[in-house]
């Protein structure tokens, strides 16, 4: 019975994938409608998964607060904030003024400050890099970063016009040739990996749904 059920799950997944894939190539109304139905189901499942994740988050932090584990105070703050924003969203809608005020004056500054700390940490790491690891690759890395920054930032010496052009072109060459070349390789790898994974799922070789 277990074998039959796993085969059933594999058949369902295979059929769903094939219908969605056929929708790219065959413009039949039945296939398009079926594809749309599957897409709707997927979006609904994604929303349900978000709710499940929310419940799991609350349960984990609630347990930490109940057991007074290390850092339980942060879990308590999280649960309190969650209850407040969730209540505001449910009762007054997500676009009410209080919710937007909380977002603009709490979440946005906090996350922006974290990005600012990241900038400071990166600069400190760059300062220490040569002292900690002194080899050719480190020097190349730092020199490249320095050239890109100089080419991006405002030019502090307006008198050196030709030199500014050279630096800007060097920056463009680094970012649009070397960096873009590497990015294309990454994208090709991602595409090949996605294709292989899709084929494995369609052939039933890989079953992320279990069975």
């Amino acid at each position: 019975m277990r074998v039959r059920l796993s085969a059933l799950w594999a058949a369902v997944a295979l059929a769903a994938g094939l219908f969605v894939l056929l929708g790219y190539f065959v413009q039949l109304k039945a296939i398009q409608d079926l594809r749309l139905t599957f897409l709707h189901w997927a979006v609904l499942l994604a929303g349900a998964a978000l709710i499940v994740g929310l419940v799991n988050l609350v349960s984990v932090h609630w347990r930490k607060v109940g057991l007074l584990e290390e850092g339980w105070i942060y879990s308590a703050v999280l649960i309190l904030a969650l209850v407040i924003t969730l209540g505001l969203g449910l009762f007054f809608g997500p676009d009410n003024a209080v919710a937007l005020f909380i977002f603009s004056n709490f979440q946005l500054p906090v996350e922006t400050s974290l990005m600012a700390l990241l900038a400071v940490s990166l600069v400190v790491a760059g300062f220490r890099l040569v002292s900690r690891r002194r080899d050719l690759y480190t020097l190349i890395f730092l020199a490249t970063a320095l050239f890109v920054m100089v080419g991006t930032a405002p030019w502090p010496l307006p008198g050196l016009g030709n030199f500014e052009v050279v630096v800007r072109d060097l920056r463009a060459w680094i970012s649009q040739v070397w960096a873009a070349g590497g990015a294309r390789g990454i994208l090709l790898g991602v595409a090949l990996g996605a294709t292989a994974t899709g084929l494995r799922v369609l052939l039933g070789t890989e079953r992320p749904y279990g069975g």
Partner: protein
């Protein structure tokens, strides 16, 4: 040997120590008669019966009797009667089928006597045997048997007993005293298996008194004590037990009785004596090992034993090789169980034998396991609380960057000139926006996190402002939960500047959950993917008007109905999803990416492709500043340009200082070496 090792703990001890000074174990086997006699062979060299024999001799000398050895030498080749009793009587193999083995009557007879014994002389069966032996001896006329004939002629010869083979049945010192000493040499051509006639008993005159005393009892055995009487006891205290005598045959045994003086045999001995024929007994004694199943140890016990200490198969030694007990009540017996425990016997040291045969890897793993167990048992010392130390470099860098960012905002200087050079793609993008149809709405996707708002708000506002300048209706949406407030915030800042009213020129569709699948669904059926909208005026919500019913989206049924789709994002994954999933359903609608500077390399391949899936990109604050400059307006990018410039300049100097500091450190270290 300078020292002796303890058989228990294998530690060295002085050679004269009797007990181990480390563990207290006995260093030599227990010997009540004196010091340890060593191995069995050594015990045989010093017969244990010597002391009591000496005592008897001394008593005899005190009584005026001659030396027993001297008396024995008087009549060479003659043995006393008591010795005749214990010497096995032989009979030729053809004399009876039971020759050489314990006759059946021994097993079934009454203990301690026989019915054949009467007071008139030897029993009938014994006389018959003797007569037959005499006739046979006379017929054979073998050399070297004259003395036997003489002995046979003596009326005191009690019986002829078959002599067992050497090794299979030997007299035991202390019990069969004269047995090891043969009375006459054997003829070399005589077959070994042929039973020899026992020598005639010595005359009464030749027998010393002490032997007569002892032998008289034996001789009186011919008169056979009544059945059931206990065996007689010699004067020295040892009970007299007649040697096991193989009679001429089972048929000659008296029915239902045992010969005189025969001791009770255990059942196992009787059963063994009845197993084989007479010829098989010597062979069986020789090949005892092969007949007996070797004592094997079970596999689990075999695995536990020390490798070199014990043997897996216990070889049962022949009787001659077995040690003679030298002390205790079993003194003189051969093959008895050793009184000392086996571990106390001299053997090889157990230290070396306890070494397990393990490979280096197994040894390393065992060491690792041992260390882990020790670590588990070790009590952790309370770690000292490390006092937090201020990291000077980190704080200095943070201070420099904060100062560089705040200085232009607070003091208005330094001021950097706006970039005179602009990216190549900026001109085409500007033209693209400038040529968009004003009657179709533009879709703006705010797909970035609030942390990137410092950069992307400024970059995006440059493009959005141009759209608003063109008067193109705007619809916003997001695939991130925090995108809608960001859209409301940006649009709310620009809309008043250009007279845009929510619900009329601009509308927010809100959050689209579902990731890439939702983007595909939205590309196919936008109205089915997002139902209501976000941030509509209260009166619209009260009237039940959704975002799709507003003038902005009233004519939009598909993604291609938008005049422009602009994705503002800092993540390459989001940009890839929109370029790959949505572009196929956009028709001629251009797709523009407003990107963070870090995402540009991953999106640029879509823009620079032969069939581009991205029709325009706007990346970073310098490009946004250049875009605003092209528009002739000073937007958010221009406002942040000076702070951006000073912070970048400070970062460049810090990086350069770090590089210089590291190189100087390296150079100084090299100079010191």
């Amino acid at each position: 040997m300078s020292e002796q090792r303890c058989p228990m703990c294998s530690r060295p001890n002085p050679p004269d120590a009797r007990e181990c000074r480390h563990c207290g174990a006995r260093l030599s086997p227990l010997d009540l008669a004196g010091p340890a006699s060593g191995s069995g062979s050594q015990r045989q060299q010093t017969p244990p019966e010597q002391d009591w024999l000496d005592r008897i001799r001394a008593e005899s000398e005190a009584a005026g009797e001659p030396e027993p050895e001297a008396a024995a030498e008087l009549v060479a080749g003659e043995l006393p009667s008591w010795l005749e009793e214990i010497k096995p009587e032989g009979s030729p193999p053809e004399a009876g089928e039971g020759g050489g083995r314990v006759p059946a009557f021994k097993a079934g007879g009454k203990p301690g006597g026989t019915e054949a014994g009467d007071e008139s002389g030897p029993p009938e069966w014994l006389r018959r045997i003797r007569a037959r032996e005499e006739v046979r001896a006379q017929d054979s006329g073998e050399g070297g048997q004259d003395w036997l004939s003489g002995l046979r002629g003596s009326p005191e010869v009690p019986a002829a007993e078959p002599e067992p083979e050497e090794g299979s049945y030997s007299a035991r010192p202390g019990r069969d005293m004269a047995a090891p000493k043969p009375a006459a040499p054997e003829s070399p051509d005589r077959p070994p298996e042929r039973p020899r006639e026992r020598p005639a008993a010595a005359s009464q005159e030749a027998i010393p008194s002490w032997l007569r005393q002892a032998g008289g009892q034996d001789r009186s055995a011919e008169q056979l004590p009544p059945s059931g009487s206990p065996p007689t006891t010699p004067p020295f205290g040892l009970p007299h037990v007649q040697a096991l005598i193989g009679e001429g045959g089972a048929g000659e045994a008296p029915p239902g009785g045992k010969p005189e003086g025969e001791a009770d045999l255990p059942d196992w001995m009787d059963a063994a004596s009845l197993e084989g024929p007479a010829e098989a007994l010597p062979a069986a004694a020789e090949g005892e090992d092969s007949r007996l199943a070797p004592a094997t140890l079970p596999s689990w016990l075999e695995a536990m034993r020390p490798v070199e200490t014990f043997r897996p198969v216990v070889q049962i030694q022949t009787e001659d090789d077995q040690a003679v007990e030298s002390a205790g009540p079993l003194a003189g017996l051969r093959g008895v169980l050793i009184a000392e425990p086996l571990v106390a016997m001299p053997r090889s040291a157990t230290v070396g034998s306890m070494q397990l045969a393990v490979s280096e890897r197994q040894y390393a793993q065992a060491e690792l396991l041992h260390r882990m167990v020790e670590d588990e048992e070790r009590e952790l010392q309370p770690s000292r609380r490390v006092r937090p130390q201020l990291n000077f470099i980190r704080w200095a860098v943070a201070g420099v960057l904060l100062f560089a960012t705040a200085l232009p905002v607070l003091s208005g200087s330094p001021r950097f000139s706006l970039p005179s050079l602009e990216p190549r793609e900026l001109g085409s993008l500007f033209t693209l926006i400038d040529t968009l149809p004003a009657e179709q709405p533009a879709l703006l996707v705010f797909d970035y996190e609030p942390g990137y708002s410092g950069e992307l708000d400024a970059v995006g506002e440059a493009l959005i402002e141009q759209i608003m300048v063109r008067g193109i209706p705007i619809a916003t949406m997001t695939t991130r939960p925090t995108g809608s407030p960001l859209a409301v915030r940006v649009i709310g800042r620009l809309a008043p500047l250009h007279g845009y009213v929510t619900g009329e020129e601009v509308v927010h569709l809100g959050y689209l959950s579902g990731g890439a699948t939702a983007v595909q669904l939205f590309s196919l059926r936008p109205r089915e993917a997002i139902l209501q909208g976000f941030g509509l005026p209260d009166e619209m919500q009260a009237a039940g008007i959704t975002a799709w019913d507003t003038p902005v989206l009233r004519d939009v049924a598909a993604l291609s109905d938008f005049s422009l789709v602009t994705v503002i994002t800092a993540g390459t994954e989001t940009a890839r999803i929109w370029a790959e999933q949505a572009k196929n359903y956009m028709g001629q609608t251009p797709l523009v990416m407003v990107l963070s500077a870090g995402a540009e390399p991953m999106v640029r391949p879509y823009y620079e492709a032969r069939e581009p899936r991205v029709n325009g990109i706007l990346t970073g604050l310098p490009a946004a500043t250049a875009y605003e400059r092209r528009m002739g307006r000073e937007g958010l990018a221009a406002q942040r340009w000076n702070a951006f410039g000073t912070a970048m300049l400070a970062s460049e100097f810090i990086l350069a200082a770090g590089i210089a500091y590291g190189l100087v450190q390296w150079w100084m270290a090299r100079q010191e070496r």
